[in-house]
Symmetry: D3
């Protein structure tokens, strides 16, 4: 039993100490941008080093049955690189290349993420909330459990000893949370960076952003929507704009 037993859950928070190294782990290219793009842009501007980990190759992310999946995977890697450049000037990305839609929380995957946590030693880790209800895509749930299991493994010295010395992150932030308890206050420039990063995922405009074609109207509509959501989240914490997470500080 960890020491969590001894503590009360925090109320809604809005400030954590400036993170020096942050690792964001998403199921597919574009998931991190949707969940935490503006927060990462802000932290990067404050000097943080951001590591992006993409669990799957994203090769099923299309409605077009004729697309070659390997070429789609290559295209999405390039889009991901461009998106990262919108959020931070010195981002690092690791593609784990699991088959899109077939990610499972195996010991192998947990070891892989544990290895990356021990390599980069992030203070803060950001990923999908595995406990979220009524979210259909299994890759999101499975990424979340891979990450929570890997955090436990990474912090304890006797787990997976062959994967380097242990490292205990200070914070785990989960996006897509049913029970958010942390809101990162944002300014418009960071929300705009998030939008700019999302727009780099051109292969996903139709399927994930409902932007059909290239018309300015569609893009403008999408931008307004992202700003509206950031406002709605910000309202909960009394700030103008925000992204929300469930934060776990007792790791």
């Amino acid at each position: 039993m960890t020491s969590t037993y001894l503590r009360n859950r925090p109320e809604i928070e809005t400030v954590i100490k400036r993170p020096a190294i942050t690792m964001a782990i998403g199921a597919h290219p574009d998931d991190i941008e949707f969940g935490a793009g503006a927060t990462l842009a802000k932290w990067s501007a404050q000097g943080a080093q951001i590591i992006f980990v993409i669990m799957t190759d994203g090769a099923k992310g299309t409605w077009d049955p004729e697309i070659n999946q390997h070429l789609l995977a290559v295209r999405r890697q390039k889009e991901q690189h461009r998106a990262i450049d919108k959020l931070t000037s010195n981002g690092i990305v690791e593609f784990l290349d699991a088959i899109d839609g077939e990610l499972t929380p195996t010991a192998r995957r947990i070891a892989q993420v544990t290895s990356l946590i021990r390599k980069y030693k992030p203070e803060t880790i950001i990923s999908h909330d595995p406990w979220k209800r009524y979210r259909l895509h299994p890759d999101h749930r499975n990424t979340g459990f891979i990450v929570t299991d890997a955090v436990v493994a990474a912090r304890d010295p006797h787990f997976l000893k062959e994967l380097g010395s242990h490292h205990r992150p200070s914070h785990l932030l989960l996006f897509e949370a049913d029970e958010p308890n942390y809101i990162e206050p944002l300014t418009p420039e960071y929300v705009q960076a998030k939008i700019d990063a999302l727009m780099c995922h051109e292969s996903q405009h139709e399927t994930s952003m409902e932007i059909a074609g290239e018309s300015t109207d569609e893009v403008t509509r999408f931008e307004k929507l992202v700003f509206a959501m950031a406002e709605k989240v910000g309202d909960k914490a009394g700030v103008s704009l925000g992204e929300e997470f469930h934060i776990i500080n007792d790791i």
Copy 2:
């Protein structure tokens, strides 16, 4: 990331457009009737084609240690056929015959349900809510996750290509939900059809319906109970009778 991100969750709803083809997927014979029997009877009366999928053979559904399980499985198939005939005049049933109590959400099972979704192309799918807390039977949880994973696989053209062309259902309704957000308004005839269907599962009278023996009193007591629950659910939506679900419309 699917387009769910861009939308708000619906409030409690009570009307979906009349479903032409509906697939109901239950862990054992009788689970569909408990969860959605009246709703299916209503939709059938409105012209819908109903496909019933029974994941396990139900061969452990008895308190009698001496029963031959294969014969119990045969008996329960017959009961299921009779129950369907109480709900709809042209029902179709697929028995997947997993071993009762040992259902696991493997890639094989997900592919099997994906195959059926692509074969019948239902607009609406009904099954167990996998996120429900404090429900002990693992077959119910596992059926729920098999179905949610299969819905994602069925809708995307590059999943399981050998299993026919993709199909995107419009609605997923989950019964046994901790967070219901959809109530189907019912009239007494449909609740009665549900009761009639449940009564066809004679092998389950003792274990699942607490009807000991054949006395009219016991049956009447059971009928009153089912009506009382339909009233209680209906109250939540301001209708006289109802069955409740968590509905997911962004698939």
Copy 3:
């Protein structure tokens, strides 16, 4: 479908009939004491026989990378024996010795717990709530699902027939619950017995109890904390001290 469908969930309860035989199942040595130590001490004083089942060997429970894990496992077994003696004079313990941190809810593990339930025939079973959100350690979640699956298997006569005749417990109490609905009223002597039992797990003082060294101050601080939590829980049910659970009575 079990008969749960026919019943309403109980409100918060505070009394169950005096349990003659109780089985408590924890992921690691010390988890049972944290979750239900005072309750078990009380029931034992009232004449109950308590069976303790420890799923893993606890061999990763240290921050010291140099410790030999086999020796740590031996030490923790001894600590567990001593802790049990603080709670009950005739406790029985079964060590299942899964590798700490690698417990998975396999058919093998479920069969193992089913076997123990059928051997000892407890009226009441106590374990981790598998549905709890935002608890990181996977062994806790996995222990919970192993137990809930084993309860279903143990109660039905056709499951795992080679493992002895079936047994249906009357109550399942889950600690670490997000939705507690049962509070056991306690007196100070039982809370003190819980503390005494926890103090026996000396190898865990630093990692789980944040007691650094042997100073009386640290121990006093920890004791106050445990009493404070018991008071806070007791308040919910209008009693002075308590431990809380989610209880399931329809098994």
Copy 4:
């Protein structure tokens, strides 16, 4: 390392001491009769108690796509009972009822067979040779590995302690062996008993015995074939009739 290292492999043997208790483990109903029917008839006549274990329900053993599999399983259980009565007057049979064609060598299955070995405490165990090449049906290979793994588990006191006290068989005989080293000498009455037992599996006449219809000619042809094979095997050991196995005596 077991003591096998210290011994040479036996040459072809033809006599083992009269077995008091023998357990024969087959993938499907009829497999034991094909592999060891005459041997078991002989040993039973000499006073041995024979335990038959049938791993799968045999429900796919037909070329008729319209057959109800549960009814086929029931039919095959009856056939198996009748076949056993041709071989021995006091046979015992355990049906493990895995799904035909989907048997896998999981920890659960190994525990199940271990449990039976410890329950009946056979001196001799007979099953499929898992190392045989160029045999297509995976149930045969998997049964073989389940049995060899279970023999190791059953013999050692610390394996699967919840499944009763350990038992070390003296001999393991594997039929379908590429490297037979043991031939059981037979007389015609035992070969005839084997044929009589095989003929009880009427549902398999067409698929496994190539007996189409009920004509005496077909049956006679089949009988001659079985006798011819027993002669061919007997020749290898200088006896008139025989069944062959790979025997392992260092267990």
Copy 5:
């Protein structure tokens, strides 16, 4: 038990009836060409339709750590298409795109190959011998077992019913066999077609064919080697050139 029991194993054969439809299943691009390229060229010339199934994406088939694996996969698909065109004018290819090096014989993979067998209904299937000793690459062994399991599943009407109606191939030929019992007689043009097909896999020249660079000498050396092997195999059956297999005719 299949009817194999009733038959003797065939001696070395050299002629099977002209196959109308043949399915060749290899672990990686180029494996089929190595194992059966000349045979397929011959059968195609005789009028057979050839279906090529490639289990993995081949994306680890390089010694260059800097190569993008998705681009390598695309390149190897193109090479495979060109190689097929050297063997047959109307070849069909199915890429199953498992991750190179991580192929496992899961129920999902077996179902996938079963599905293809039922779709194309080949008389003859060619693949890796799973029983071969001392071959290191696990993808070859696993492909072999996936294929043998799928052949059993495909032929029986009650297996995997959702995957189309059953189909029983007449012959299974396994290359890389330790116990070859079938040799296909060849003429030089077919061996040359095999070499031409292999040469299309340019990305593999260094790693699999030990052809460093583009010099004519290296290629000539490789061609001589392939001819020398075909002669050596042919010698066993008294023909000038051949490829060898273990053939199974009782399916």
Copy 6:
């Protein structure tokens, strides 16, 4: 396809170039000594660095049901250290501590051994032959397949990239081989070192070496047996003493 296709299998060999770094991988403490103890002693004397990898904790290696398994594991670690000191003056040992008897060839285990191969970069790897027939203990078979899979993964640059840069061993030697093709010539001092190392495993004297008690006679008998086997093996290659392996040089 690897380049193996292009080469003939070697005949029986007796000399490989002096190995600088050798990794020996055994299922339990004492397996390496039985299989290759004298060879390792010889190579160490010639200057090689030897790495010992022990897959399981050996905690089931006793006939005494009362032994505490954790204490037995500790004892066997100490015995292993002493045994290594008999074979080499600067041996390194890695205990992977899988549960004895439950080793399975999972991706996790393969990654673990891959990691060690890349860390120590051995020229030669020695382990169990996974293809050996009629050896009952599954840990030996599974260790063999874990090692062969890990050798493939370790050598290729795109496998398990998070586990360090790739390394290609030159030789894989498999003991317990049905088809030995390599014999290491030995002198009596190395066979004596093997015996001395085996004698260090005192906990195994009864179960694996059939040495009951401490009498000099029993030990002498055992020593004679080991020398007799070394002579028998040596005979095959025309040398006085030897240990035999199946060697694979095309990795």
